[in-house]
């Protein structure tokens, strides 16, 4: 089990999401909402383009914590707000999202970790926080 102190920064992580990744996530998760694969349907709903599943961004963000933990089973709580959509263009570059995390509190064998998710210049998640068991 990890030990943690307030202010500790976890190793950051950058994830690239391409259209293919959205199709793969749609298939694995069963979320086939067309705003995640059809430009036509995304435009019809007034979106700037096809957007990543919020749950895919959420899954990527927690890796910054679970990659650091010795065992992902030490995660006891995890929550986010979806504040901005991640637009994923239909090209080879896709969209890059960079995640960082910092320990905010440590008490009673639990550490509270704040996660930041940036795509382009914008924060795409708000109040993203994980609580993990620590020594």
């Amino acid at each position: 089990m990890k030990s943690a102190e307030i202010g500790l920064e976890l190793p950051p992580l950058t994830v690239t999401l391409r259209r293919e990744d959205l199709v793969r996530y749609a298939g694995a998760s069963g979320d086939f909402n067309p705003i995640h694969w059809s430009d036509r349907m995304a435009a019809a709903l007034g979106l700037p383009g096809v957007i990543a599943h919020g749950m895919l961004t959420m899954a990527s963000a927690v890796r910054v914590v679970t990659d650091w933990l010795d065992d992902p089973a030490d995660l006891v709580e995890y929550g986010v707000r979806f504040t901005k959509p991640v637009v994923v263009p239909d090209d080879d570059k896709g969209a890059s999202v960079t995640f960082s995390a910092k320990v905010d509190k440590v008490a009673d064998g639990l550490a509270e970790i704040d996660i930041t998710a940036i795509a382009g210049e914008e924060k795409v998640l708000g109040r993203a926080r994980a609580v993990v068991r620590v020594q």
Partner: protein, 140 residues
């Protein structure tokens, strides 16, 4: 029909339990691009957000309640939180029950919070998922 605060407390149980298999866990881990070895092999546990998928059958029941009159294509997922008693693992047989906990209205937009309890079919609570969704009833 429409949703209002009197519907807080309504509960929707998934029609069937979800049998968690190690190959589904691997497929999901691959789809989120997570190479963590904990999500592979005979003793695989599921990635944290796998829990959302387990609640989707209960959400289906909620969406089918005609008195609420919700439409999936008018829903935006606003916030999501999980609390875990233990990780979900291959071999678990999971029952999901979603309960409406808050309804707030602002014009055509309804902000609904619901909590999904994920338990083994033997009644052991494994995780709780709390979702906030906004539903827009305005005609397009």
């Amino acid at each position: 029909m429409t949703i209002d605060a009197t519907m807080v407390g309504r509960s929707y149980a998934a029609a069937e339990s979800y049998q968690v298999g190690r190959e589904k866990i691997r497929e999901f881990a691959d789809a989120i691009g997570d190479p963590n070895p904990a999500y592979r092999g005979d003793d695989a546990i599921a990635p944290p957000t796998f829990a959302f998928m387990l609640g989707s059958r209960a959400l289906d029941q909620l969406l089918e309640d005609e008195e609420l009159g919700l439409r999936l294509d008018r829903i935006v997922h606003g916030a999501q939180k999980f609390t875990y008693t233990r990780p979900i693992k291959a071999g678990d047989d999971i029952a999901a029950t979603a309960t409406i906990t808050t309804v707030r209205k602002a014009g055509d937009v309804e902000v609904i919070m619901y909590e999904t309890a994920l338990s083994t079919v033997d009644g052991e609570l494994i995780a709780t998922s709390t979702s906030t969704i906004s539903h827009n009833r305005a005609s397009a």
